[in-house]
Assembly symmetry: C2
Homo-oligomer: 538 residues x 2
Amino acid sequence: MAAEQDPEGLAAARPLLTDFYQATMALGYWRAGRARDVADFELFFRRCPFGSAFTLAAGLRDCVRFLRAFRLRDADVQFLASVLPPDTDPAFFKHLRTLDCSEVTVRALPEGSLAFPGVPLLQVSGPLLVVQLLETPLLCLVGYASLVATNAARLRLIAGPEKRLLEMGLRRAQGPDGGLTASTYSYLGGFDSSSNVLAGQLRGVPVAGTLAHSFVTSFTGSEVPPDPMLAPASGEGPGVDLTANTKMWLERVCAILGLGVQEPHPGERTAFVAYALAFPQAFQGLLDSYNVRRSGLPNFLAVALALGELGYRAVGVRLDSGDLLQQAQEIRGVFRTIAAQFQVPWLESVPIAVSNNVDEKELTRLSQEGSEVNVIGIGTSVVTCPQQPSLGCVYKLVSVGGQPRMKLTEDPEKQTLPGNKVAFRLLGSDGSLLMDLLQLAEELPPQAGQELRVWPRGAQEPCTVRPAHVEPLLQLCIQQGQLCEPLPSLAESRALAQLSLSRLSPEHRRLQSPARYQVALSEKLHALVDSFHVEGLP
Amino acid sequence: MAAEQDPEGLAAARPLLTDFYQATMALGYWRAGRARDVADFELFFRRCPFGSAFTLAAGLRDCVRFLRAFRLRDADVQFLASVLPPDTDPAFFKHLRTLDCSEVTVRALPEGSLAFPGVPLLQVSGPLLVVQLLETPLLCLVGYASLVATNAARLRLIAGPEKRLLEMGLRRAQGPDGGLTASTYSYLGGFDSSSNVLAGQLRGVPVAGTLAHSFVTSFTGSEVPPDPMLAPASGEGPGVDLTANTKMWLERVCAILGLGVQEPHPGERTAFVAYALAFPQAFQGLLDSYNVRRSGLPNFLAVALALGELGYRAVGVRLDSGDLLQQAQEIRGVFRTIAAQFQVPWLESVPIAVSNNVDEKELTRLSQEGSEVNVIGIGTSVVTCPQQPSLGCVYKLVSVGGQPRMKLTEDPEKQTLPGNKVAFRLLGSDGSLLMDLLQLAEELPPQAGQELRVWPRGAQEPCTVRPAHVEPLLQLCIQQGQLCEPLPSLAESRALAQLSLSRLSPEHRRLQSPARYQVALSEKLHALVDSFHVEGLP
């Protein structure tokens, strides 16, 4: 059904999706005879987003697709020639035509892993010119994916495991592919489904949806369905005229609710009947086109009960305005009354879906104890990440030809950690996460049960730690251009994300003022950083 | 060079880039025999973003491309069949395969026009089922484009006409195409160029860039360029060893600046020489990899002066950290000193480019009287629109079969304006913008010089206005699927945006607490809205 193969969904992610300075630097390296020097870059972020203590790593699947297809076409090289100086040596452009990622090696945090500041999400090694060109597209593919996955994870933590979360932010995304990326990675971060059909088709995200006000308001009540007859769900017995039966049920419902039978809008009812004829097994009503209590709700009930007689059960109602929590309580109350009155117990538990600018605060309210809301549609607040719309990932050179490199700069936050590194997660005996450790690749890995002296980042003094378990963090993903093993499916990465979050201690997982999760340097790495500070400016 | 034809740049914008409920409603319309009813939708927003009183209309060129290519392929219909109920009538899917936009008509505000709340950016008419399906993709294509263009326009207004603004936010965008959209429309809104090469190739946006710290830190100083010789700019005379000449100039520069000749980082200098050998006509230096004053600046000057001897002029320096304004003053001072000392007057005015999380506040500082900053690179703040990351456009049904439709709802802000409408801009005798007027299509257009009674939105009473000039706002863009005339180029739309903004009065144009621009309804339209309130709930 859904296809992870995606020949077009990432069409915009091609080699020229890069900053122009990557092309000018490429020429600089080439002219300096350094195009094929072996270089190592690390992609990481400096602070977790939204005030969280954690980030979810995401975007790797898009990076892998991009790297495997990386090749400059003639038209690309011609375009570069048109914007680089006219006296550029033609041999440079010839060289560009030969480039691919067949000599590139990538280590990565698996998608859905917890990521922390300074710990690489990706380590990219290969010819200097090529791995430099990869900077912008990799940042573009990892940054927003990890941001929106983390945002979705926060919303899932607020909502708890029971509420169904529907991402519906395509219309608020940064253009077409912004929407595709958002839908994919909010699912990874913990949403249940997306309204975005293309994300279903290309990425296998479960798709879901209801109906819009335009469908309801497009009917006046004078429309006559070409075929108003509906057969029973069992397939046995004669069909009935759903319009006529709905009318009959409306009278009964209005009598119980104390409404005049003229009050519910006839166009809305006709729209609901039309929808029910198209979706007898999946009928749902959007209640607030005119007036929820006096129109939307009785019209929905009339159609649902008429369908119920035929053995069909309505699957939901939706609200898109007003006080969502309060209305859900009232609607549930009405459902219970009507269910009791007509002995249709299934009606009591028809899911109530809500939407309308739901953000973290409103979601907290909708998820409180006793809330009758079952499904929550979130668009803008998940897709645009309004609390912090970018993650600020960076991609930094850490060594060339095996020699460590460091950007010193006068701004301490912008300094980088030099050298080829490996990363470990240190755990306590109860499996709790203690800290992440960065050390040089040449060092022996830390041993479970042995005491280590490490330098927590930002601390002036070292400390000791005795991990009960040690987990290596970065996995070899692409070796010399070859994918080492198939990537997990999106659903598997989604499961890993939920597992990863469950292992995080409550003080690191909480969303407001969480405890900071420590990332530490080995003594040797710390000494290397120090040596740059001393020798950096000779 | 650049190609507006764009077979792949919008590959993600295809018919399934839509919310699932559009597909369910399509089935509902079809089952109700209403698929081919003629319907009219309007796309508009309810509030201008960022506290501005204006918005720039943008995204139309992407909508036109999308609509002209709109056609569901077999694979698309098969996917829809896999997510719609299994008992769906196969004739529905047959119908889907026949769909295109050959019966769709679009009126639109030209890109770069001023847009105001409630005034349609697009009016879309055609078969109900088709124009319903278009909702999400059109919202996706217009919403962010208009948002980022407006954001860019604000930044341009702050910077004034002289500063060069470079958009460099690709790495902070919502995935690949989010970046492409951002680069395209921030150019439309007033930026001079983008770092995004793909936006240059596919959209004709001027591309620009400098170099990154990784280029600088990749050199230690021990590297020897394969060919250190550079010929004079004139092409006449012998070449010189640029490395050797740079060393010589470094001594002179250090002597004047009171620095030891060992202080400037040799790796940084080697990087600059490498860059200069690749770009003798376009040499620029990134000054803050180690230390601006003691390393970046003297190294840059040494290379620039060595190049100068050969008749080449450096094109710029860039700073990416620290107090950008303050450093720019100091650097300009050093340029002046050195220019006077060595009688190289061109050095005085070498452009200073800055970047580093520049937002509206910092841009205001950098643009103040006397600032020595010439070029400002902005990424996150333009692309993610952090002050308000979505515009909140909506797409509402206003009539079916010529009969007006209205969503009443209990939330007054979410009510729509019914009926087929036309929009006019009313101007004073000095060409100033007075207000926008919405009226029914059947009404006579307002006449210049004649007094009108209108209902400003939100007002309880009508008012009179006598416009000296009247401009119709919406242009017929696509008639029955045919493009009526070629769209303006992106550069032309950019020019229109600047012209539009210049016509806005200062009180509407100012960015903080601007006066609200009035949008009014004709008496007849106002009466129609009223009639719905009376009759809406029978």
